[in-house]
Every structure is written in structure tokens, then in C-alpha cells.
Symmetry: C2
Subunit: 160 residues, 2 copies
């Protein structure tokens, strides 16, 4: 598996993964019905640094990095990650997590903040804790989980 | 003092207040040098509901409301507020705060979240606490305060 900068040619493969991820309505805020164009405009918006994890010709995961705030708050980074269903449980998320923290340092970020980690998303919460993130806040009833209803979200943070 | 929806004709007056507010670099993340066009594009971006507080012909304050997250998180509102230096200490902030909470309810939001209240901004922190907000998280070194250096930011929240 290799991680590299995303190219325009990766967009269709990234959309396929996004579509899978949002279909379940249990981890990401985007409605399962969000159209491809809207989703790709968001995922590849100009202020983001975009990466993909590839296995041969297959895109198995993707993530982006950006500043969490403009101006006087721009030293804190933010990121989002997706893994294809076929590649789940194979360490793709962890590889992207570690790579992205190094890359965030390289880009000059001093810390990383996740604004919205669904509390019941154990895989994500445990992954982030295992690479040094702490829960610094909890938003009550932040997420309309498709099967469990109103669910809290964590705000997670670590210094770089 | 009256609060009403903002019109295109209010933009120049709103910019004057934003410019004053960001000049000090002690409460808002925007660089004091942020250009007018960039700032107004942000303040009046299409997903926002914009309001102004007026005293006769003078715009003395402004605020906006929007969803803090898309899709499955869109029931949580978010907002930002500015008061002109000439109108400070005259209850404009409190009037806008109370009005905005009613308006957020009317728009269907179930709660309100502020993602970035500079911890040393006592006027704001105390105002929000006095109208029912709680600190639900604290971001270490989130803000490069122009005079005090690295400063924490609060995440504040209340149900509506």
C-alpha cells in the first residue's frame, strides 16, 4: 500500500468510497443521498490537501488536511478520512492516520483537531486515541444516527 | 434599537464593524488585514441567515445563524456576532443574543454550538453563560492572540 497526493483521475474512485461510507448514516454527517458533484466539491475544495491510499491500481482510502480555522487559528489542522469497505480491518486507516500526522507537521500545523467524531464510532475513536488524540469536548445530541437516533459527538485533539 | 434581516445595502456598514472587531486581533480568528471582499463573502455566504441591529439609520451590530454541520448534524445551529465600538456596553450584544436564540428556534434548530470563543474574551464568555450556554470543550493554544500569544478557545453549547 502506498499513500500519495490525490489527482483528478482519483475522483471517481474516491466518490465510490464516500458513497459507501455515507450510505450507512452512522459515522459521517453527510446524508446518504448527497449527490456526487456536491460531495466531490466538498472533499476536493481548494483549501484542502488531498491524499489517497492505493493498493496497485485500487484506491482503498483517502483523506484530506486543512486548517481548522482561518487567520489567527490556522496553526491548528483538521482532517477527514475514509476507507473502502473492501479494505476495512487491514490497517489502511492506521497507515493514513500516521502518514497524515507527519504530513500535517510538514505543512506547519502545530496540532490537530477533529470537530465531529461520532461517539458510537468505536473504530474511529479507538484509532485516534491509539495515535495520541484526546477527547477535549463532547457535543450532546450532535448526530442523527440512522439506527440509534440522537448520538453525541466527540471533539478530539492532539499536539503535533 | 431594532433587529431585522440584513439587506445588501447594509454590507458597507457591516464591513466597518467587522474591520473594527478584527483590528485588535484579540477576539476573532480573522487577520486584521483581511480584505473587505473576502470578509463580506464569508459573513454573507449563501448558507447563512443574516441580521443587523440598527439604531435609527446606524447599524450598531450584526449576526448570522447557520447550521453547524450539514446533513445529519444540521439540527445544531451556529452563529457569530459583532457590535460596533461606538455601541459597546449598551446591551446590543445581549439583545442580539436573545433575539438570535428565538430566531434559531424558529428556523428549526434544536441547539446552538459556538466552535471558537476565545477564552480571554470575558465579555463574550460571560454573555453566553448568562443566556444559558455551557463550556463543553476547551481547545488548547487555539488562538494566536495579538498581545497575549497562544490562548485557549472554548466550545460553548446550549439546547434551544
Amino acid at each position: 500500500m502506498e499513500i500519495r497526493k490525490a489527482a483528478d483521475a482519483d475522483k471517481t474512485a474516491v466518490w465510490k468510497i464516500i458513497k459507501e461510507v455515507i450510505a450507512s448514516g452512522d459515522t459521517y454527517v453527510f446524508e446518504p443521498e448527497t449527490p456526487q458533484a456536491e460531495m466531490l466539491d466538498y472533499w476536493f475544495s481548494p483549501e484542502k490537501f488531498n491524499y489517497v491510499a492505493v493498493n496497485g491500481d485500487d484506491v482503498v482510502g483517502a483523506f484530506w488536511l486543512k486548517a481548522n480555522q482561518p487567520g489567527l487559528g490556522s496553526h491548528v489542522g483538521n482532517a477527514a478520512y475514509i476507507v473502502s469497505s473492501a479494505a476495512k480491518g487491514k490497517g489502511v486507516g492506521r497507515r493514513m492516520a500516521e502518514y497524515s500526522l507527519d504530513e500535517a507537521r510538514r505543512l506547519g500545523f502545530e496540532s490537530m483537531q477533529f470537530n465531529f467524531v461520532v461517539k458510537s464510532n468505536d473504530v474511529a475513536v479507538n484509532l485516534w486515541k491509539s495515535v495520541g488524540f484526546e477527547v477535549i469536548g463532547e457535543i450532546p445530541d450532535a448526530f442523527r444516527h440512522r439506527t440509534n437516533g440522537m448520538t453525541n459527538a466527540y471533539i478530539m485533539y492532539r499536539k503535533l
